[in-house]
């Protein structure tokens, strides 16, 4: 007993206790609900059997039916485009801004703080505002593009099947940029300044310093950001509901909105769960990539 106690205060037990407790909490509150979804995807679910776990099993029937639907593959494709474009946009703009504000001119930190506005605004409001900005007729984006002579006729961002997915991407990049920027700022400020001074003495130019010092030193921040960006992007729901409702004709539909629509609009809970299992598989692959990338992290 004493050994266990002393190991908790002063050894491996300390580490294990620190990890085990939160993991148990997570498994209970997130793991079980996740399993519930996985289980449902193999069952015949009825709105009135939501409260029980014992429902008729149907094997892969739900999966088979889902992939028979003509919209399934396009929606999976849309999801891939949405996730990739959103993460790339958020990260590049966020990194650019973080580097820009890093130069530390007067007022930089005030202005940087203001960028966090997208993080505090409620989803419903963000959605509604982008809905207006992207509107074809009275939308501000079209107004500005037209006034500046970039376009001659209005682009119907929300209602043209060629643009609708990109309309949501634009709004989502706006939403995620601030979070990327602020975390990259924290990461940047943790890089010791003398590294740069040494590199400068060695005659490295700004570009070389960025590639040889900034990027490698930021590796763990970037890995974390992209992993989280993936999850946030896959959870993005409000913008779809507010801007396009997945339309027109599913041209901007993605798995997370589709799963919700199946479960809570058409009350086909089994299919909703099946779609969510497909999402889980994708994130699983991405998580493995992230975890592997942490192998090469540099510890400061």
């Amino acid at each position: 007993m004493k050994r266990v106690l002393s190991s908790i205060t002063d050894g491996r037990g300390f580490d294990i206790a620190l990890v085990a407790l939160p993991l148990a909490f997570l498994l209970l509150l997130s793991g079980l609900p996740l399993l519930y979804n996985v289980l449902m995807s193999f069952q015949e679910v009825d709105m009135f059997s939501l409260g029980t776990l014992w429902r008729p099993f149907v094997g892969f029937e739900n999966y088979r039916k889902l992939f028979e639907q003509p919209e399934t593959l396009p929606i999976l494709g849309n999801t891939a485009i949405f996730v990739t474009a959103s993460i790339a946009g958020q990260f590049l703009i966020g990194f650019g801004l973080a580097l820009f504000f890093w130069t530390n001119f007067p007022g930089a930190s005030w202005l940087r703080g203001l960028f966090l506005v997208s993080w505090v605004m409620p989803g419903l409001v963000v959605g509604a505002i982008w809905n207006w900005i992207l509107s074809g007729d009275f939308g501000v984006l079209n107004f500005l593009l037209r006034e500046s002579g970039l376009i001659s006729g209005n682009i119907f961002w929300r209602s043209d099947p060629n643009y609708s997915l990109w309309a949501v991407v634009i709004a989502n990049v706006w939403l995620g940029t601030s979070f990327n920027m602020i975390l990259l700022s924290v990461g940047l400020s943790a890089i010791p300044g003398d590294l740069y001074e040494a590199a400068e003495l060695d005659g490295a130019n700004a570009w070389q310093r960025f590639w040889t010092i900034t990027l490698p030193m930021m590796r763990s921040s970037i890995g974390a950001l992209i992993a989280l960006g993936l999850i946030f992007t896959l959870q993005q729901f409000d913008l779809f509901a507010a801007i396009t409702s997945g339309g027109p004709n599913n041209s901007s539909n993605v798995t997370q909105y589709w799963a919700w629509d199946m479960s809570f609009r058409q009350y086909d809970f089994a299919k909703g769960a099946t779609i969510s299992v497909i999402m889980i598989v994708f994130v699983m692959l991405a998580s493995i990539v992230y975890v592997r990338s942490t192998r090469h992290e540099v510890r400061g």
């Binding site: 509150l29 505090v120 999402m279």
Partner: protein, 275 residues
């Protein structure tokens, strides 16, 4: 190019960038002041012709917003507390070692938050009703939010711990500190800023949490502001100007607080608190 000239130029560029980025915020402010139909006018008006200033008072009164905001604060503080207490240690350990168990832990933590809240709420609701947690709705929401946001916190704080030099901790251990002692006196203070930033981000997210709150908290007296916001959405009517006024009232103070805080945190970092 002199330094002051360069600084002025940078400031000017920064102002332009901020203006572009903050445009949606501006649009929220002025839409609140427009009449219900003026917001659909073509071409869009960049300043309301007939600003409805009385709307803020009306919205505050009709929705009893003080109570809503108080509930949001209670829920957000609760969630941040649970997450910080459980998450910091977890992140620290995951940063300290480099082996297959850490890989599995990280992997699990990421995987567990993949599904959107709208798909998690049904099982959570069913589970909570089985164990009787629905009797304590705000606690139930705090736990649900903690489970949802903790992975985010752990991944971020882990990255912060990665930047704390391990030699410092080892030196402290050599000096006769216990693990606990070294953790609290050396490692934690060095990672303070990253933890604070992450906690604030979590606080803001929990402050606006909507899906769990609206399903779990049935009594209107206990609901947070995000749920109150949706009461302007009807079957055929969406009172956008009221929604925007309501959002203005509840976003502006948090934004102001954050701008003040982050200045200290992030600039504190750059000016050498951690080297």
């Amino acid at each position: 190019m002199s330094d002051t000239y360069r600084e002025k130029l940078m400031l000017a560029i920064a102002l332009v960038l901020a203006a572009i980025y903050l445009f949606p915020l501006y649009w929220m402010y002025i839409t609140a002041l427009k009449s219900g139909s003026a917001m659909f006018a073509t071409p869009p008006a960049f300043w309301p012709t007939d600003p409805q200033w009385q709307i803020y008072g009306q919205v505050w009164e009709s929705r009893n917003m003080g109570r809503y905001i108080w509930n949001s604060v209670v829920i957000a503080l609760g969630a941040v507390t649970v997450i910080t207490v459980l998450g910091v240690g977890c992140a620290y350990v995951l940063a300290r070692y480099r082996n297959v168990w850490v890989d599995i832990g990280l992997f699990l933590i990421l995987m567990l938050q993949v599904l959107p809240a709208s798909l998690m709420i049904t099982p959570i609701f069913v589970g909570f009703s089985q164990v009787g947690l629905l009797e304590y709705p705000r606690l139930a929401v705090i736990l649900a939010i903690a489970a949802k946001s903790m992975p985010f916190f752990v991944v971020l704080v882990r990255a912060t711990f990665m930047s704390v030099p391990q030699e410092l901790e080892e030196a402290a251990l050599v000096d006769g500190n216990s693990r606990i002692g070294a953790f609290f006196s050396i490692v934690l203070p060095l990672a303070r800023n990253g933890i604070l930033v992450s906690a604030i981000l979590i606080f803001m997210q929990a402050f606006g949490e909507f899906v769990y709150s609206k399903s779990i908290i049935q009594a209107i007296e206990l609901q947070p502001a995000s749920v109150g916001l949706n009461s302007f959405m009807g079957p055929n009517t969406n009172e956008w100007n009221n929604i925007m006024a309501y959002a203005t009232i509840y976003v502006t103070p948090i934004l102001a607080i954050f701008v003040l805080l982050q200045r200290r945190i992030v600039s504190g970092l750059t000016s050498g608190a951690l080297k």
